[in-house]
């Protein structure tokens, strides 16, 4: 039972990082991305490959994962965010599809559908983290770090510029803000953090394959943000705790596995629709202003 709860908490930590980082785009910048699962996957694969082929450990893998994630995002952001935020939805969808195709078809590198087994556990100062409850602390530490980074970014002059771009991009330009640069920077930071979550996941499960990083996963991460409330920093965390609990609750009801998966999807879909109709601002709702309290 402890191991079971520990596993739930590790996954909450990983998804909280994904949701927090995606919310930098969706909530704070008004840029909708459908590529966050691909970025998550890039982080996982980069970290796993670095560990398996180069023998670099968890830490080196995570740094490289963050770098590759940011780079992949920059490649898409630089051409598409020049035009307008709306194009990013389409461009990020393209990135998601292409990245998944690479995971599945570049078999020499990724081993295709069969995936990559035997990813080593993280080693923190000589201590190998191989128990789920130990991993809870690692995942929580990174979730807290991500939260701190997001807090600093959004409660600052930089965060003010993000909101200004979201509210009225033309006014932001007229006030001397380099809108394109700011959007590219935030897309890269969001992706670096999302790729870190992938690294945490790969070294936790020790086996990855493309199915964990498909489009439905991108939509799931976006649901965490939207249901939790994209206007507040803590919103995505609330969304993560709740939505990750749904499959666990379903396990206690005597539903066969073949039915449980589609039932889960139906619940997610229904929740999204209900929230869009009844409470579009999400569970935590709207806050008047955050950068007001910046120091």
């Amino acid at each position: 039972m402890t191991a079971y709860i520990a596993h739930y908490l590790v996954m909450v930590g990983i998804y909280a990082i994904l949701a927090l980082s995606l919310n930098l785009l969706i909530g704070y910048s008004g840029i909708f991305s459908l590529a966050h699962a691909a970025i998550y996957g890039i982080g996982a694969y980069a970290s796993a490959l670095v560990a398996l082929k180069l023998g670099l450990g968890f830490w080196g893998g995570m740094v490289i994962a963050a770098g590759v994630g940011a780079l992949a995002s920059a490649l898409v952001a630089i051409p598409s965010l020049r035009v307008s935020g709306d194009y990013y939805v389409v461009a990020s969808f393209g990135l998601q599809v292409v990245v998944l195709a690479v995971f599945m078809n570049w078999t020499d590198l990724t081993n295709g559908h069969a995936g990559l087994p035997g990813i080593p556990r993280p080693n923190v100062l000589g201590w190998v983290i191989d128990q789920p409850f130990e991993y809870v602390f690692l995942a929580a530490a990174f979730a807290v770090l991500t939260y701190a980074v997001c807090w600093r970014l959004t409660n600052s002059a930089f965060g003010r510029v993000l909101q200004a771009i979201r509210d009225d991009e033309i006014a932001a330009q007229a006030m001397g803000k380099d809108v394109v640069r700011v959007k590219i920077v935030i897309a890269c930071i969001s992706s670096a953090l999302g790729a870190m979550a992938g690294s945490l996941y790969a070294h936790y499960i020790t086996y990855i394959n493309p199915s964990s990083f498909a489009l439905h996963e991108s939509i799931f991460i976006a649901s965490l943000v939207i249901l939790g409330g994209s206007e507040r920093l803590a919103g995505p965390i609330v969304g993560t705790f709740l939505l990750l609990a749904i499959p666990e609750v379903l396990k206690f009801l005597a539903i066969p596995d073949t039915v449980a998966a589609p039932v889960r999807q139906i619940i997610y879909g229904a929740l999204l629709i209900i929230f869009m109709l009844v409470r579009p601002e999400g569970i935590l709702g709207r806050v008047r202003s955050e950068t007001e309290h910046a120091k």
Binding site: R160, A171, A174, K177, V185, R288, K295
Partner: protein, 257 residues
């Protein structure tokens, strides 16, 4: 001509811009003299807002040149033009409506350290000091525009005349020498007008150069030092407001036959 007396801070020369078959601005040339209020007038469709959009980098030009203190600014992007010292308001204000009055003005203040991701994490002391200075400046600006009682309200919750003031406060905070005001008096009633006119005057007392678009002829006569009359994208006349408003030919064009 009297306008050549002082060297201009901004000089528009031979500007042309068409949209499809429509020549919105055509061989348009005029000077803006420093420390003065220049009124850009003309009937609807004369090309006034197009000129504003080209000066501020939101639109490209087909031909021409715009010199700011001798430096070509045509072809620069809007944020580059702003950083060289030209700020503007919009006819439809474009306030950040979901942000507070204070935040709207803070976005006008210079906060380079706080807007830079690296210094945000690596130089927290400098960021904190800069933010404190910006807040002080923003409060002074809000005081100047009579909005200090509205600091923490959402921009969208202000009454229209106050929103108008806020749109001017925001660009005044940027401390740019040249301020372009797109119809500062439109949609205002008598009392709000009496509040805004002296404010525009005060901008000049603070060393600003103002170029404004305005339809209210009375206001133009009262406020402007120089007037540029635009018609079909060309400058028909430029001079003192009294000369322009007394010219029967121009009056006919302005009010239609």
């Amino acid at each position: 001509m009297s306008m050549a007396a002082e060297s201009p801070i901004m000089s528009v020369k031979g500007l042309a811009r068409s949209f499809g078959g429509i020549q919105a601005v055509n061989d348009c040339s005029f000077d803006v003299r420093p420390g003065r209020i220049t009124g850009l007038i003309g009937p609807n469709g004369a090309g006034k807002t197009t000129v504003f959009n080209v000066i501020t980098g939101f639109l490209g030009a087909d031909r021409g040149s715009i010199l700011l203190r001798g430096r070509e600014i045509l072809g620069l992007s809007p944020h580059q033009v702003e950083r060289l010292g030209v700020v503007r308001t919009f006819q439809h204000l474009r306030l950040w409506s979901k942000m507070t009055v204070l935040e709207n003005v803070l976005l006008g203040c210079a906060t380079p350290a706080g807007e830079n991701v690296f210094s945000l994490f690596l130089r927290p002391g400098a960021v904190r000091a800069e933010e404190a200075r910006a807040r002080e400046r923003a409060m002074e600006v809000l005081e100047f525009f009579g909005l200090s009682g509205r600091t923490h309200e959402f921009a969208e919750d202000l009454a229209y005349p106050e929103q108008k003031l806020l749109s001017m406060a925001r660009i005044f905070a940027a401390d740019a020498p040249v301020m372009l005001l797109d119809e500062p008096a439109s949609g205002l009633d008598g009392e709000s007008l009496r509040r805004i006119v002296p404010l525009v005057r005060k901008l000049v007392e603070h060393g600003k150069t103002v170029l404004l678009i305005e339809h209210n002829m009375e206001l133009i006569s009262e406020l402007s030092d120089d007037v540029v009359f635009l018609h079909q994208g060309r400058v028909l006349a430029a001079g003192a407001p009294a000369e322009i408003t007394r010219d029967p030919a121009l009056t006919e064009i302005y009010f239609g036959v």
